[in-house]
């Protein structure tokens, strides 16, 4: 079936661009899933018109929990709500001939396509970067995969846990007497890769605006996550030291284990005893000791301890660390995380509470900064609270302009009013299963 449409018609799509937003004039086609959805979400927050393309019946990511009031329903996934806000949504089966043609028509007028299919999937459908760039040489196509588009493992199957494993960061996490463990909200890998995709897409965008040339941005989750290793690369490079997980401890290049997570009266706090050449950190340690002294629980040797020479990382012994850490651990056990946090803020101590997500949701600092945003969900008959702007822009403030789309919510708006497809043809496309 043909639906006649000229290039001019496609380009004359009718959405009013939000020119008061940093990316107002641009359109993004979103073919991502899972945590990768955050990439187009970032572009949407920055003002781009993001169209999430779902397969008919709904995107697989709608099955990801948790769910609104525990109702397992593709229209009530909180994962979907969180990562598809600021997007419009259409259904389209890009595996059908009609669907492909519709997709190419959309791509002709789009600035970005972001996708997270397995390597080669879109190319096999005739919708890879080569095909898209022939239709629209300005297009920036960003592909997110576990290993990138090329290389001996590019076609390996991956998921969030295995990506975390391939990047070297899983090995360094968890308790030493157990298997390495990840972060329990396991979408972290694809969230990192998705956010990296937003940055890469916008570098390509700048180049496109200077030269008119689009390009293919090839995001690898493994490469993105390898940044999580921070200085463990240098520890290996300089000393051939392989960092092993140490639970609540932090192990230096000399193999000395220092505690960074202490139990307190009602939970845990993040704290490390610092000394040596770092002036500001020595001051923080002294401030903690001063508080302990005021409370009458600092042993005399601790009050006069030489933090500069006696606790320099490059010369520390495990014996010194264990002796020095003990009075701190004891002090924390008698105090709540709120008490410890309050005094740390007041005294310039480098200590913070190990918050639960409930603590985060109730955090007074985030409330004082008006971080949370209320977003109406008419279909639920209430407003839900969302994480607010990831960056505060003075001239073009970011906000949630629309909640995540329902399945096919913008089919009519986009296919009929913007692409100019007649209602009769739309009915036929629907019967054919393309939308």
């Amino acid at each position: 079936m043909r639906y006649a449409m000229s290039t001019e018609e496609v380009v004359a799509m009718t959405r009013q661009p939000e020119l008061d937003m940093p990316l107002g004039p641009y359109r993004v086609l979103d073919l991502t899933q899972g945590g990768c959805l955050i990439g187009p979400r970032i572009l949407g927050d920055l003002g781009a018109d993001v169209i999430k393309i779902e397969r008919p019946g709904g995107d697989p990511s709608r099955s990801l929990g948790p769910f609104y009031r525990d109702t397992i329903d593709p229209q009530k996934s909180l994962f979907w709500f969180a990562y598809c806000a600021n997007k419009r949504g259409i259904t389209l089966d890009i595996e059908t001939a009609d669907g492909k043609e519709l997709f190419m028509a959309l791509a002709k007028a789009a600035d970005f396509v972001v996708e997270s299919f397995p390597v080669g999937y879109l190319a096999d459908l005739g919708l890879g970067y080569d095909a898209l760039s022939r239709t629209n040489p300005r297009i920036v196509m960003t592909s997110i995969t576990p290993f990138g588009q090329e290389g001996p493992k590019s076609r390996y199957k991956g998921c969030d846990l295995t990506e975390w494993a391939t990047a070297g960061c899983l090995y360094t996490m968890g308790a030493p007497d157990h298997a390495p463990t990840w972060i329990t909200f396991g979408a972290q890998s694809s969230l990192h890769a998705g956010a990296e995709a937003a940055a890469g897409s916008l570098i390509a965008h700048w180049h496109r605006e200077q030269t008119g040339e689009g390009q293919h941005v090839d995001v690898s989750a493994q490469k993105s996550l390898a940044w999580l290793n921070q200085a463990t690369i240098q520890m290996w490079e300089v000393n051939r030291y392989i960092y092993h997980r140490a639970g609540a401890m932090w192990v230096t290049g000399h193999g000395v284990a220092r505690r960074q997570c202490y139990a307190c009266k009602d939970g845990f706090v993040a704290f490390t005893v610092f000394g040596g050449g770092l002036v500001n950190l020595v001051m923080a340690t002294r401030a903690m000791v001063a508080w302990m002294a005021e409370e009458g629980v600092a042993p005399d040797w601790l009050k006069t301890f030489n933090w500069v020479d006696g606790f320099d990382t490059s010369r520390l012994t495990q014996e010194t660390v264990d002796r020095v850490e003990a009075p701190f651990a004891h002090f924390f056990m008698d105090r709540t995380k709120a008490e410890l946090w309050e005094q740390s803020l007041k005294r310039g101590i480098v200590l913070a509470p190990v918050n639960t997500l409930g603590d985060v949701a109730a955090d007074p600092h985030l409330q004082a900064r008006r971080f949370w945003e209320q977003v109406p969900h008419p279909e639920l008959g209430e407003e839900l609270t969302y994480c607010g702007a990831f960056y505060k822009f003075s001239e073009t403030p970011l906000r949630i302009r629309r909640r995540a789309p329902l399945i096919g919510e913008h089919n009519q708006e986009i296919y009929e009013r913007e692409l100019g497809i007649s209602r009769e043809k739309l009915v036929l496309l629907k019967q054919a299963g393309a939308i």
């Binding site: 920055l46 609104y68 996934s77 909180l78 994962f79 969180a82 990562y83 290993f147 990138g148 001996p152 493992k153 390996y156 199957k157 846990l161 295995t162 975390w164 494993a165 391939t166 070297g168 899983l170 996490m173 968890g174 308790a175 298997a179 390495p180 463990t181 909200f185 990192h192 956010a195 937003a198 890469g200 570098i203 180049h207 995001v219 690898s220 390898a226 999580l228 290793n229 921070q230 200085a231 240098q234 290996w236 300089v238 960092y243 993040a270 704290f271 803020l345 480098v350 913070a352 190990v354 918050n355 639960t356 985060v360 985030l366 971080f371 839900l384 990831f390 960056y391 822009f393 073009t396």
Partner: protein, 416 residues
């Protein structure tokens, strides 16, 4: 053919230090932007004083500092001196973007806060990033990433249930914040290109990081459920875990998302009778009997190497991977084939490894050209070629202490 670079011509004055701010700039520096990193001997970057050092302790001996700041020109000035402050202003006049990551209020001490800067340079894109943001009751809290991981909720959900949380070894939110930050400042740059307007961008890294936990924060707000740490379990997959392999502290991660993959796994294990066993045949059954399932898998993996398991399972269409340690990572054939690590020769550290980016690009790939700067390494180049200072001006700034030298290192650093 000369390599094209996407951001050639974009000029960045980088007043930021430690991790997050410089990592924002790294995205631009690897794509051709001209970046000047502003430092002072009087208050060296914390990362310069952190182990490991190569060639002994010293202000220029940290390969980690260097890896974070490649392609940048380094200058050393003291903005507490009039001539040092004057250089900062000339740099701001030169720049399209400036970024700082100090404790809120620090830039204002030098009258280099946004309100003041915009008066002289109305179209500047001015970026402030810090752990908590510029305002609010905790604004001045200056913690490390470890503290940020605790505050933002990641530490609590890391590790096995009923044990002390195993915080990420790394400063986890330090790796989240720059990805959003790079997107934010590139978007602001495009807005300026279209409208001529600069603006102030402000990041609380705590807030940015909340987006990586958003569905579960919403779940708490709606259903009052607190997410608890749960090892490697995944609510919609089983088995889903990390299993011991032959060798010392060797592990393989694997995940089975549906019954078809389970049948493949049973075959690979040589236990095809398990494929249809009532206690494991369906996802629901496997979730119910997950402890038993994990023990079964671990019994099978223990006799095999992680590399064998990865190959066997991938061949059967099951997501699986060696749990790579640092050495596995730097010798990983996939990363090597993509040129992910590159060696650059640093004047003090010597040749050492640099990671590129999480992505490459078909026309304008990221490029590592120069190692991170030694402290003040490019003073002359920046002062003369970029800021067009005269020899007399430079000499006066040196004499006044507006340009810092090794003599300005705090006593403590000299004894490193």
């Amino acid at each position: 053919m000369e390599q094209k670079q996407a951001l050639k011509g974009v000029k960045v004055a980088n007043f930021a230090w430690v991790g997050v701010g410089p990592l924002h700039v790294r995205y631009l520096a690897l794509h051709g932007a001209t970046v000047v990193r502003v430092e002072s001997h009087a208050r060296p970057d914390t990362l310069r004083l952190m182990m490991p050092y190569r060639g002994g302790p010293g202000i220029n001996n940290s390969p980690w500092f260097a890896e974070i700041n490649p392609n940048a020109y380094g200058i050393s000035i003291n903005m507490g001196k009039p001539s040092g402050l004057e250089i900062a202003w000339r740099l701001i006049e030169w720049a399209d973007i400036m970024i700082e990551s100090f404790i809120p209020g620090t830039m204002k001490k030098w009258s280099l806060d946004y309100e003041n800067v915009r008066k002289k340079k109305p179209d500047i894109i001015y970026v402030s990033t810090c752990q908590m943001g510029q305002t609010g009751p905790y604004a001045k809290f200056a913690g490390f990433g470890y503290q940020a991981g605790g505050i933002s909720g990641f530490t609590y959900i890391s590790g096995m249930p009923d044990t002390t949380p195993g915080p990420t070894q790394i400063a986890y939110t330090d790796v989240i914040a720059p990805r959003f930050g790079a997107a934010a400042l590139l978007a602001a740059l495009d807005y300026r290109r279209r409208t001529g307007k600069g603006q102030y961008l402000e990041q609380g890294q705590f807030e940015t990081s909340c987006h990586f936990l958003a569905p579960h924060i919403m779940d708490y707000l709606i259903s009052k459920r607190v997410l608890e740490r749960n090892g490697n379990r995944n609510p919609s997959a089983a088995p889903h875990g990390v299993y011991p392999c032959r060798g010392s502290d060797r592990w393989c991660a694997l995940a089975v998302f549906n019954d078809e993959e389970w049948r493949s796994l049973a075959c690979v294990m040589g236990r095809s009778e398990l494929a249809d066993a009532p206690s494991f045949a369906t996802v629901l059954a496997r979730k119910k009997n997950e402890d038993e399932l994990d023990a079964l898998i671990a019994g099978w993996t223990l006799d095999r190497t992680a590399e064998q398991l990865e190959a066997m399972l991938q061949a059967a269409g099951i997501a699986s991977a060696v749990v790579a340690d640092t050495e596995d990572l730097v010798s990983d054939p996939q990363l090597r084939s993509q040129g992910y690590f590159k060696k650059l020769k640093h004047s003090v550290v010597g040749e050492h490894l640099y990671r590129t980016m999480g992505f490459t690009m078909s026309r304008t790939p990221p490029e590592l050209e120069r190692p991170g700067p030694a402290l003040g390494e490019h003073n002359e180049y920046v002062f003369k070629e970029l800021l067009h200072m005269t020899d007399d001006e430079i000499a006066d700034a040196l004499a006044e202490g507006g340009v810092t030298t090794e003599a300005d290192l705090p006593q403590i650093s000299a004894s490193l």
